[in-house]
Symmetry: C2
Subunit: 296 residues, 2 copies
Amino acid sequence: MSDRPFKKITICGIGLMGGSLGLALQTRNLAESVCGYGRNTDRLSRALEAGVVSEVTTDLSRAARKADLIVVCLPVGLIPETASQLAQFAPKEAVLTDLGSTKAELIAKIESELGEGDPAFVGSHPMCGSEKSGFETANAELYEGATCVVTPTLTTPQHALRKVSDLWKGVGGKVLYLDPQMHDRLAARTSHLPRVAAAALCHALDREMDAENRDRMVATGFLGATRTAAGDGDLWTQILSTNREYVLDALGDFQGTLHALRGILTDGDPKRLKDWLDEGNTIRRRFDNAQDRGGE
Amino acid sequence: MSDRPFKKITICGIGLMGGSLGLALQTRNLAESVCGYGRNTDRLSRALEAGVVSEVTTDLSRAARKADLIVVCLPVGLIPETASQLAQFAPKEAVLTDLGSTKAELIAKIESELGEGDPAFVGSHPMCGSEKSGFETANAELYEGATCVVTPTLTTPQHALRKVSDLWKGVGGKVLYLDPQMHDRLAARTSHLPRVAAAALCHALDREMDAENRDRMVATGFLGATRTAAGDGDLWTQILSTNREYVLDALGDFQGTLHALRGILTDGDPKRLKDWLDEGNTIRRRFDNAQDRGGE
């Protein structure tokens, strides 16, 4: 009928991430049908109208039926239950994946629910996105050039791993295989710590009592450093709660280096201060050519 | 001869800030001549060729002569000495200002050097810019819509204050008058703390030993949060060194809120974690419509 690599791909949750995936799949002719599942009929019809997906449904069983790949693009807290439900209705050969920002706790839960005859699940986490939400902010190039982490476990079948890798390569991503625990350990430093530091900078700003002048002084530096603090509180509570230990580790190192800085500033030795700043500068400049996807 | 508001404006230091000022002054026909002073003849000729300024010189006395306004766009550590030298050669009616990121220490130094018959000095700090440098990154719209802090003291003559305010209004800025101490207190939170937090996030990243995977996981969140860490170490050593007390105050509040977060994460209470994140979210959303100038 067609030589597209996928027949039916189902996307559960049509926000920025799911919507962008839908657009990317269609732009690149990767699937015969891209089915959007959601609960809000009004938003679903508008997503369909906007061409983000090619069909929509509010019926989970219909969403899963005949799908060869199902991508769960929901907040971390909703992923395990939704994945288990979808697995009941999906064909045995189907593969499920997700886009959750933490992996170990969630994957352990899902794997414990799935049995022998069930479709396979492989975790994913594409390292792109922004503090924005809704399919209205979706774009077909979101995954282009992004590191897409795929987290197989000892029980992951080869065919499932291949299918999920093909998905991310298909939309332009660079696949990185990591153990779920290792993913969480690294994400704590590259993503979760920057997110809480952004919130903490906002808190520290508000401890200054001259509210009017304080806010007028806010510019580039503060805005860039705190952009992720505008991200949804509920979503981030789930992310941080499912990665507590590694976030605490990363936070500890962050607190340690701030403590060292306090000592340097208190001593007033410009040479040591410059060394401390230069070290940060050298680290940051490793990413000079990295694309800052989505955030703007 | 012409009805332009300024006859000769001299810009000392043709980098991103000075270069953008030169472009803005010329685009808006605000001065009959925009003189660029610098020490590197090669860079000066290229700035002239690029149309960033209308004349150039490496001679400080020539730069100051006949100027009605002199803007010192140099690193904080060089401003006091350069301003004092320029004052010797400038007409008595001339006004000097600067673009230094800290104000109190620097202004006290300059005012102690200037005598009765000398040109007046008024401090400025436009809240725009980026981690980039060099006139090649200059743009005529940099100051458009930016808060431009002007810091008069008890000894500032009215005519000088008016001239400097006219400059910033002329290039599209919104003038905010602040006492130099108050400027430094607020800048510690809106600018200096975000800068050191960015460096500290880089340090914390590098404490993770899996270097290759760690760096591949870096994306939007980390890149945005740490952009200012790419800023020059020398320049920032001078800024932080001349605002030590207020930076330590702001750092203390930052450390305090991170300590609170550690407690919340350790307790594992999602409700308190969400409240903490929501508070940061509410603060950040006050700036949703703020323009993020220059940084990109």
